[in-house]
Symmetry: C2
Amino acid sequence: MITKFLLPEDRIPTTWYNVLADLPKPVPPMLHPGTREPLTPADLAPLFPESLIAQEFSTEAEIDIPGAVIDVYRQWRPSPLVRAHRLERSLDTPARIYFKYEGVSPAGSHKPNTAVPQAYYNKQAGVEKLTTETGAGQWGSSLAMASAYFGLECEVFMVKVSHQQKPYRRALMETFGATVHASPSVLTDAGRAALAADPDASGSLGLAISEAVEAAVKSGGRAKYALGSVLNHVLTHQTVIGQEALLQMELAEDYPDIVIGAAGGGSNFGGLVLPFLREQLRGGRSVRALAVEPASCPTLTQGRYEYDFGDTAGLTPLTMMHTLGHDFVPPSIHAGGLRYHGMAPIISALKDLDLLEARAVPQTACFEAGVLFARNEGIVPAPESTHAVRAAIDEALACKESGEARTILFTLSGHGHFDMQAYTDYFAGKLKD
Amino acid sequence: MITKFLLPEDRIPTTWYNVLADLPKPVPPMLHPGTREPLTPADLAPLFPESLIAQEFSTEAEIDIPGAVIDVYRQWRPSPLVRAHRLERSLDTPARIYFKYEGVSPAGSHKPNTAVPQAYYNKQAGVEKLTTETGAGQWGSSLAMASAYFGLECEVFMVKVSHQQKPYRRALMETFGATVHASPSVLTDAGRAALAADPDASGSLGLAISEAVEAAVKSGGRAKYALGSVLNHVLTHQTVIGQEALLQMELAEDYPDIVIGAAGGGSNFGGLVLPFLREQLRGGRSVRALAVEPASCPTLTQGRYEYDFGDTAGLTPLTMMHTLGHDFVPPSIHAGGLRYHGMAPIISALKDLDLLEARAVPQTACFEAGVLFARNEGIVPAPESTHAVRAAIDEALACKESGEARTILFTLSGHGHFDMQAYTDYFAGKLKD
């Protein structure tokens, strides 16, 4: 009985996968927020180094992972693919449940997969400082860690409700040497405007992005901005998850009928799913791809597919995506990483092409699943990850009903060690759906 | 450049190592607290199942690991042995630094190595419930997890100062389904007596042990007690760490000149060190074994080697060990797992035999080392583990001074995700030495 399917370091993938090379029709281009003309690489130069901009516009299928990035990945990658034997027995299901566990990274989630290359490329370009936003703190702590590795300063705008709910995430970022501000802050025009409108504003990812972008643009070239999800290059970096999972399913002598991920901005979901969709798009085995989002922020299931801003203040390019509107402020649910009004253009296009399914689930059902998972598999999932756990359990229960022995694979994108207040609130009956 | 030395699941050791088989002279027996006669297995029957009592008295070198225990170990074992390349470069040392990372267990520390077999053997014996104490919460959460796996109830007496400082550790235990009380509590005679003497008592491990033992003894046979360190069988279970590390040092084509562990009760330290000492005791390579303890609870460096109780109330057997006195209440340092007045009899005997070195370090120096480690290796060490990090760094700096390329191996016994308040206090200058 094998439980975890491990690969040695020398099988860390040497390329990321860019799904733009294989899509049946192109993803609509981003538009300049001022001219509404298709965005050019030059338009992004104030925000990102050239190498990342090139990746953002690339339609090459394979993008080389730099050796210096692989050298950092070595510490925890390839991450384990684990067979959830005890959970299966507890559900009494004929399904086989596997999870790809990204919580083994030092920052505790999948986010370092892109934080490390982003820090590396910025360092190569002579950038001294990175600015960013963070919701639950997974992205901020990952970029803080990667910045420490490459000797960069790091300034994080943290959505105020998370800043209050998760002081230990903040402490983690500070341990890595980052500077952390609650957003909205008084440090930017966007933040001051939000505070003027509502001094008690709990913040949103969209607003924190506005602040971080503004801080980079006004740095006089010292600082660039780093985004933890949504953009093409971010999703591409995350495909290291699925690239490994394909090799590990081979080791397991199995193949998923369904691949599942929680979807906030789309990078965790895309990271697992895109390499499996490549196989399908190129004539290989097809797979059900299921994106799971919170019922309180139902971007893919209820948003409109149209051009919208990525941030609240309208500083970012316009992106064709599923969106609830850039001024949508989602309720203060504990899955802070899923509180985003939009969705990655790649994921949105796949949804539009009927290449994936989406499902919205209420948060109490997610925590119920998280507790069941913890009592069987030991790992307490991050609130974001409980969305994938919920869907995986529901699919396994459907298999029990139908008697089908399907293979279910999901990303457990992170652990919940910095989110225990959420579990405390769940047990106390304080969570609302 | 290899960073982590991994073993596949089928190389999880199948035996634990019992150093009592190889010691040059026997460890003095425990004494009955009433009669002061050498303890018999029957004396321990109210507390532990027969199988664990047999292990406690065994002098066999190899103890079989049950298959059901290995099946649980599979989820995270063999744990990685990691070469700290970035830390080495940052210190500019010729030393090679390796750490055996036990924080990959779902509970985040080495403690499940013994929690899982203890839960298993109790379940086999028909026990329905386990009682225990916990300091920082690493042990309590590990036993809570193991109890959930084997369908046992779990009741934890948590030292009050930790109960207050670490609410999220408590939430973790509750997520696993355990019941948690602050100790001293009003639930036991020992707790009530302590509260009568000082209503504001911050508690100690010794007192929490008294409470947990009392709760088991008065359960009418439903419950047994589980101890997370000190006892022979606990140290034996932890040797899975060193058994693996020996194989992994072979993979690395290297061998440690010095092995280092933090020492509270002694099980983390013994877990790594004992298999290396076996090689030495049997005529193989010798190794410096260094136990690191807090300056504020200097059991090995300043305690007396004499018979003493393991708990405050004098309910446990008398044990020949290094002790600060069973009524010693250490200051409320953040390394709660190291706040214990005594030391494992095996470790105490090794110290008496000059088979190991001991060193006491102040906590601010430990946190300084923890931050340096985090900024280079990403992992934020538990406060307990920073003691080993401090000593490893100091040994590496000594190598820089002398120009010697020694090999240093330490256990990073757990991560500090539930201890971020300690780092916050450290940065705020609030920690005292």
